[in-house]
Symmetry: C2
Subunit: 200 residues, 2 copies
DNA sequence: GGCTTTCTGTGATTGAGAATCCAAAATGAG
DNA sequence: CTCATTTTGGATTCTCAATCACAGAAAGCC
């Protein structure tokens, strides 16, 4: 029934996300994506219509994968609330560390997406994806904070919604600070200091 | 002695910075800069050689202006250390607020610069400018923290260098969170929560 | 094995934007 | 007023990313 794909569609999306997260949409050429994915441009366009469509698909995938990973950490019932937040930070720091070892910064599609108003205006779906991701992320962190307040690891004085916003702000800031060549231990120390209001 | 300039070179740089800070280098066309500055393209190129050169000049100017404003706040001897940091946050929040009123997010050339590794690789001067700015900014915040520890407004337990890194991380994160449509009061509350380790 | 279908790869075409060029206009000096 | 000099507006060229079209190749079906 026709010649089968020589490449794995999802692998290409991951490769594309790997490029977009570093340089953003405007800063990444389709040639770079092809290079990273080991696919010819015509195959890329044949499968994914356009650069915009590819970006949307890659963003969907990126949000889904990172969201799932973070959800697993934040809802881990075997761990106290405060520790879940620490593990979240550790994951982000480790990501940056791994990327730095490969020479480039990790970047983040969500950060780039938010920093590019033109992109959100041009494609409604991008705006929706980013907003939904942000909401879900905050909801998950908020739940972890509530859990922490119940198990006594997080001070009951803080509003979980504010706390969630703080966590997402600190992590975004971390992405920027990481690019300036800050070492992982320092990065982790700073992040935990930023969450001092929550973690004491 | 020839026809004089019809435009103010510095005003054009400010207008260019105003565009670059929102969409970054790759996301901004010279046409947009011309539009914003009210200058024709030939005038732009006649005066600033190329887009790259224009960007470097705009970044220099941007870094100089924002640096001076922040320095004034952070070294204000009439104000206690902790209060200086709060004022710094207020300035950033106000910037985002003003921009939001005009429909677009404030953005930040420094954040965009750090999030664009390709740019730093291509032009050594951009990398140097960003690094220098970051160092100076941290040094200033560090000084304010030391001052705060002397006047008793900031807990003596924190390392000023770490504190400075935290402040710059939180402010960067703030820039991102602001784009998601967070209102100014919330933004301010979150930022102060992030600096809880410093400000108590 | 021939046929159909769908993929792949090469190369052409389009299009956006950066860079350049040129003639006209403006201005101050003499 | 006239000249020398520089700016300006518009047209043009150039470059490279993005897209498209077609020929060849690979797999399943009969």
């Amino acid at each position: 029934m026709g010649r089968p794909r020589m490449f794995d569609e999802v692998k290409v999306l991951d490769a594309a996300a790997g490029e977009f997260r570093v340089r953003g949409f405007a800063g990444t050429s389709t040639e770079q994506v092809c290079e990273a994915a080991g696919v010819r441009r015509s195959s890329l366009y044949n499968t994914f219509v356009s650069k915009d469509e590819l970006y949307v698909r890659a963003l969907e995938r990126y949000v889904e994968v990172t969201g799932a990973r973070q959800a697993a950490i934040l809802t881990d019932q075997g761990v106290r609330g405060a520790e879940r937040l620490r593990r979240l930070v550790d994951v982000v720091v480790a990501e940056e560390h791994d990327a730095a070892a490969r020479g480039h910064a990790a970047g983040c599609m969500v950060v780039h997406g938010f920093m590019d108003p033109g992109l959100r205006e041009r494609d409604e779906r991008v705006a929706r994806l980013l907003d939904r991701d942000l909401r879900e992320r905050r909801a998950l962190v908020g739940e972890a904070i509530r859990a922490g307040q119940l198990d006594g690891s997080i001070s009951p004085g803080v509003d979980p919604d504010d706390g969630a916003l703080l966590v997402s702000t600190v992590i975004s800031g971390l992405r920027i600070t990481a690019q300036a060549g800050t070492d992982p231990e320092t990065l982790r120390r700073i992040a935990l200091a930023g969450l001092h209001a929550l973690l004491g």
